[in-house]
Amino acid sequence: MTYEVESKLMKAEEAIKKYVDDGSHIAMAGFAITRNSMALAHEIIRQRKRNLKVSMSIGDMALDIMVGSGAVNEVNYGGGSLDRLGPLVCVNKAIVEKKIKANEHSNFSMLMRFLGGALGLTFVPVKSMLYSDMVNDLMRKGEATEIKCPFTNEVYVALKTLNPDVALIHAQAADTDGNIYIYGPKFDIKEIVYASRKVIVSVEEIIPKERALRDLIFIPSYRVDAVVLAPFGAYPTNLYGYYYHDEEHIRSYAGLQCREDAVQKYVEEYITSVNTFEEFLKKTISSDKLLKLITLARRLM
């Protein structure tokens, strides 16, 4: 028997080759240390993509390591961190050293840029960011301007909307029809998926359609271009219901302070010296720790 999902099922390597080029505009939906598109980010780094533009509401470890590896030259984001495990060491450094063009936003402003893009609008009005230094910078860059409500004359920030070339999403599951299931908080996943031209979803597992609940479909099959089977694909960040984050690994990453040699060593050791994300996992995490992270996440559901 063949399943619909099979026509879209591919290795991370193939998906990134097919849908991400040098200069592509990428959207991601991780949030700090949860649900990072880590398997896909590793592959981008492994394929040495360059001059990427990344847009995301809250910056995460996947963004940080992509910036640290030199893959990115522009970021639209709404701030970000590794929660209290550390700051976005490479992003912060790249901003201060002007190695990337960083367009800073509030979380909701980023969401609205995606929502507007999903809706096919060329601009969206928001009350956020008024009188902030963020909006001053965005106005200088032509990404924002002031607009007045034609009915009340109230002042708004008008934002250009976003239609990234490709969205990278990490989800809990796909079903055999190719529908995607997202459990736990949803962040801005829906808006990103509909704003982007192509959508790559890495998943922990593929479940039979008969075992899936139709009312829980979060991304319908018709909106997905590639499904990548990537168990533990958000590691070392966490995934609701599936595994807890690896505090030790993330802390040690943050401890690199984005010193060039240290980050380069991290990239070599964990990403470019292996051929696949599976190899990275094998090399990095013991079965003992893996089971602990899984068990803890299940308990916290």
Binding site: I33, S106, N107, Y131, P185
Partner: protein
Amino acid sequence: MKYSKEELMVVTGAREIKDYDKVLVGIGLPMACAILAKLTHAPHSVIFFENGVVDPKSTDYGVGLADLKAWSGASYYTGTLEVMGYMLHGGKFDVGFVGVLEVDMYGNVNSTIVEVNGKPRHFTGSGGGNDIVSLARKIIVITRHEKRKIKEKVFYVTSPGYIGGRDRREVGLRGGDIVVITDMAVLKFNKNKGKMDVVSIHPGIKIEEVINNTGFPLEIPSDVPTTPEPTEHELKVLREKVPATLYSKSL
């Protein structure tokens, strides 16, 4: 009953929350305030994270909003559109807490970039911070009381306060009053003075201490109110039911 300065801050923050309030928080002291309020005078208040987690009930909130420990026992999971859009931008949050690197005499908040030894150092950025300050009915800033944190002018305006000392609504902002709770005092905007002003000083803190640790001139009358002390009940609930990791040593 004796209490720590962090305990006083949590209790003071909790008292800003009324019953039935919708409250937008981050992990740390703000979450402690929200939990304490809910367990004392505001049982029907509802706690939200900007990423879509509603009313978690955990015993350990871990390292931040993205920690699965912080989500445990949530009553509802939704997304940014519903929390930051329909609720916050839609004007439905009564209270929002924000973390800051610096806050200035106009209530402007910086959570993006500061100068350290004359060199710029970039931190978290806005996240939902700017949205909260721009849009919540009441904004609570909790910070250590230091000259380098409570300044005449922030290095970078992540979130606008009282622009040029004017009423926030007048200039088109929708966010309400900003309340700054420090380990020494409570500050609010004073319309007549056109800047942030001390409304109460914590028990045991001297006026001079506050003045000396504030980065802009303050005129504090000698009869300035003292911040009300925690009640025994508040302290009991706080110590028994609110995870200490949220607030102790968190300044």
